[in-house]
């Protein structure tokens, strides 16, 4: 890890320390558990989006994919709308649905040459549409004990959701470090033409990265359903941009080729600590959104200071 990667972790420690000094409630064990638990879904979504950002593409499909996945899982496990009770298989189905949506984004990008910004925005709308159709006016409430337990049961003080998120981060890191998919995603962000000149076919890898990210969004949708106890079209509301924010704050640049899963995990914690800390020290909820926004921009500005040059072009 080089000096320029040290910024976000240092910021995390400093901000955490600051809130801990200011607020006794903030530094309580319960609150730390709270922060980690509430970071779980965002961490999983951010993990997926990180691979897309590493390639230098962008992914706005998370909200739609999560909505579709939430409805899918809630209608396939035991629920009040039908007699299904597929249990774990329902979760697998929701994750696979995420993969399909990711595949659509990827194919639109490499075959139809639609820029990822528009392709994923479209896929998000499709996802929301599918979710709305499945919702059909009646909210499916789940009664599957396993899925319900994810948000409630604890292991070593943290919810199952938090442990799932930790497992996702570990998996993401292993893939980024030790698989061709992960390394090529990184390389595509670094210099795509070079891969082509070296005889690598990049298109399949690009699609694969979107499929892979889609799986994480699918799982994210399942996790939200577990938290809410019901399948909602809006399950993924706001996660698309929160995930991008967290990834960028953590040091994964939108230009690609930099950062990674661990960076993004730090970014997620930074954002969550900030949100939680502001509440704990008593900042009025009316102020919160604005204050958060300012701090996020400041964090990114601080992160890029080491690379700032005179006459540099930023878009």
């Amino acid at each position: 890890m080089s000096f320029r990667d040290a910024g976000p972790p240092v910021a995390l420690i400093v901000i955490f320390g600051l809130f801990a000094v200011l607020s006794p409630q903030f530094r309580s064990l319960t609150n730390v558990q709270n922060i980690v638990d509430s970071a779980a879904v965002l961490a999983v979504v951010t993990c997926g989006i990180t691979f897309v950002l590493m390639m230098g593409s962008i992914d706005l499909s998370a909200a739609g994919v999560m909505g579709a996945s939430a409805l899918t899982v809630s209608l396939l496990v035991a629920n009040n709308r039908n007699d299904n009770d597929f249990g774990f298989l329902a979760i697998v189905a929701a994750v696979l649905l995420g993969c399909v949506f990711g595949g659509l984004s990827g194919l639109a990008l490499v075959l139809l040459k639609v820029p990822s910004f528009m392709a994923t925005l479209g896929v998000s709308a499709v996802g929301l549409g599918v979710a709305t159709l499945m919702f059909a006016g009646v909210q499916p409430n789940i009664s599957d004990t396993m899925l319900e337990s994810w948000a409630v049961e604890r292991f070593l003080g943290f919810s199952y959701l938090a442990w799932i998120a930790a497992a996702c981060i570990l998996l993401g890191w292993l893939i980024q470090r030790y698989t061709r998919l992960g390394r090529y995603a990184y390389a595509i962000g670094g210099a795509e033409e070079v891969l082509t000149l070296s005889g690598v076919k990049v298109k399949p890898y690009k699609v694969a990265v979107f499929v892979f990210a889609g799986a994480f969004y699918g799982l994210g949708g399942v996790m939200v359903t577990s938290q809410l106890g019901a399948g909602l079209v809006q399950a993924g509301n706001g996660y698309d941009f929160s995930a991008i924010t967290a990834a960028v704050v953590g040091g994964t640049l939108l230009t690609g080729g930099r950062g990674g899963v661990l960076h993004s995990a730090v970014g997620v914690l930074l954002v969550m600590v900030l949100t939680n800390g502001l509440v704990q020290i008593g900042v009025s909820p009316y102020w919160q959104g604005g204050v958060e926004g300012v701090i996020v921009v400041a964090a990114v500005a601080a992160a890029v200071i080491p690379q700032r040059r005179r006459n540099q072009v930023v878009k």
Partner: protein, 503 residues
């Protein structure tokens, strides 16, 4: 039998015949030089040899057998590999990954990386060329010369694909290297010759003669001659390249006018910045001052600082006695200073914008009526400069990126002339990447501007160019002005005199 042979290769592009029946023979274990002006067809030929361009007609033979090369992998399978001019390494991967990229073999099993194997594979390649680079170092942490070694190690991976000795093509490998690094590279090329054939392309003829066994000269998409390098002189190659004896007055020294005024137009005192200290210099109206120095002498930064594009810590700059604000490119422009950057493609021009827009970029006022662009005014202005500088462009609306390098550079120069208020030109390697004909035109233009009273600071591409063009030469070393050498017509210093001061 020849290692690689090309027979009657033809390639048309819309409106241009890039290759017009080229013949070429590369023998086993030889270093073949390829010389030719820009536009002679060198790069198209090289691309055809690695399968990036499909020729319309003609044959490529590898060890006597005719082959069709569809892409770089095809070429590699036939043992042909190229080190590209723009370095082709992924900056954020390790050296090892770059070396085996696309042919990881045992380094990846079922999509899973085996780092120890990757490291070993890469080390084998680096050992071949005797390089001590750490295979697990990130590529962007390596120096330019080190990265080039990584590229050569990478290209040698094609030995894994073909049992025959490889053909390695080096496209302008020296253009950004320092002389010491060039020596290392040449030693490497001689080493490669032991087990491979090498095609070496450079626009520096002395280098071609130095390292090659034989040189093939291209002109207008055809092979116009072949020279054994033993005993050959650059002048002879020159002639073959440009197809005539060429003018002896390459630098238009006859057009040079004596500097009239002693009054300095530009006067710099005690200028200091990150890489230079206490720089004093004066340039009179109509004078051409060349600054020479080795890499790291700080001359590039001084030049940028004069334009306000590099921060300064101390010192002052006066134009005709008036102090200008530092660092501010805006103030520099307003004071009548023009800057032609070394990186034409990224800093000198906006490739997708038209000739007209590029020309009026800095002096917007010249094309405005009130706050609005006046199309007629702009057209008249741009056309008059296209004509005065004889810029060859289909139309004034043509994207500048589609012109040849020489014509692009003329547009970049014209940008400072359209305002009619330019008093000082800072030319940072103005002839970099230009062919002989285009260079000559830039030199002529510089002479014209000088005789019209414009002061010029020149960072030349070569010492010869500095000596040929300058009225006076400033030698910089380690960020300081080492000495000043007068350089009048008829009493020019020798390159050796300057080199002594530079190191």
């Amino acid at each position: 039998m020849s290692a690689l042979e090309v027979r009657g290769l033809v390639k048309h592009y819309p409106g241009v015949k890039a290759l017009d029946g080229v013949d070429l023979v590369v023998r086993p274990n030889e270093v073949l030089g390829l010389a030719g002006e820009n536009g002679a067809g060198k790069s198209t030929l090289l691309k055809a040899l690695v399968g990036l361009v499909t020729p319309d007609k003609g044959q490529i033979l590898v060890r006597g057998e005719s082959v069709k090369l569809r892409n770089v992998v095809d070429a590699a399978n036939h043992g042909i590999g190229m080190v590209f001019q723009e370095q082709s390494l992924v900056p954020n991967l390790t050296a090892a990954e770059n070396i085996v990229l696309g042919s990881e073999g045992a380094g990846v099993r079922r999509g899973i990386y085996r780092w120890d194997v990757m490291r070993r594979l890469a080390q084998e390649q680096l050992d071949k060329i005797g390089s001590h680079i750490d295979p697990l170092a990130r590529t962007d942490s390596l120096t330019f010369a080190e990265r080039q070694m990584v590229e050569i190690a990478k290209v040698l991976r094609i030995e894994q694909r073909s049992q025959h000795p490889p053909v390695i093509i080096l496209d302008e490998p020296t253009s950004v290297l320092e002389s010491k690094e060039i020596e290392t590279l040449f030693a490497q090329i001689r080493r490669l010759r032991e087990f491979a054939s090498v095609v070496f392309v450079s626009h520096r003829l002395d280098e071609v003669l130095d390292v090659c066994d034989r040189v093939t000269v291209l002109r207008g998409g055809q092979s116009v001659g072949e020279v054994a390098t033993a005993g050959a002189v650059p002048r002879e190659l020159h002639r073959m390249m440009i197809g005539s004896t060429g003018s002896d007055d390459h630098y238009h020294e006859n057009a040079a006018t004596p500097v009239a005024s002693d009054q300095p137009r530009l006067s710099v005192r005690g200028l200091s910045g990150k890489s230079f200290r206490d720089v004093d210099l004066d340039v009179a109206a109509g004078e051409i001052l060349a600054i020479v120095g080795v890499h790291g002498s700080g001359r590039e930064d001084v030049c940028r600082a004069l334009f306000g594009a590099e921060p300064t810590t101390a010192g002052e700059i006066r134009m005709d006695g008036t102090k200008i604000d530092l660092p501010s490119t805006r103030a520099a422009c307003a004071a009548g200073i023009g800057y032609v950057p070394a990186e034409r493609k990224t800093e000198g021009m906006v490739g997708s914008m038209s000739v007209a827009e590029n020309m009026t970029l800095a002096k917007q006022k010249a094309r405005l009526t009130g706050p609005f662009v006046a199309p007629k005014k702009q057209a008249g202005l741009v056309d008059s400069w296209i004509e005065r500088l004889s810029i060859r462009t289909p139309r004034r609306d043509t994207a500048i990126g589609r012109l040849s390098g020489g014509n692009q550079q003329k547009v970049v120069l014209a940008r400072w002339l359209v305002g009619g208020d330019v008093r000082l030109l800072l030319l940072d390697h103005p002839t970099r990447g230009l062919d002989i004909g285009a260079r000559s035109e830039v030199y002529r233009l510089m002479r014209e501007l000088a005789s019209s009273g414009v002061a010029t600071v020149l960072l030349a591409d070569s010492l010869e160019e500095a000596i040929g063009m300058a009225d006076r030469i400033l030698v910089m070393a380690d960020g300081r002005v080492a000495t000043e050498v007068p350089c009048p017509n008829g009493d020019k210093p020798s390159p050796l005199d300057l080199v002594k001061e530079m190191v």
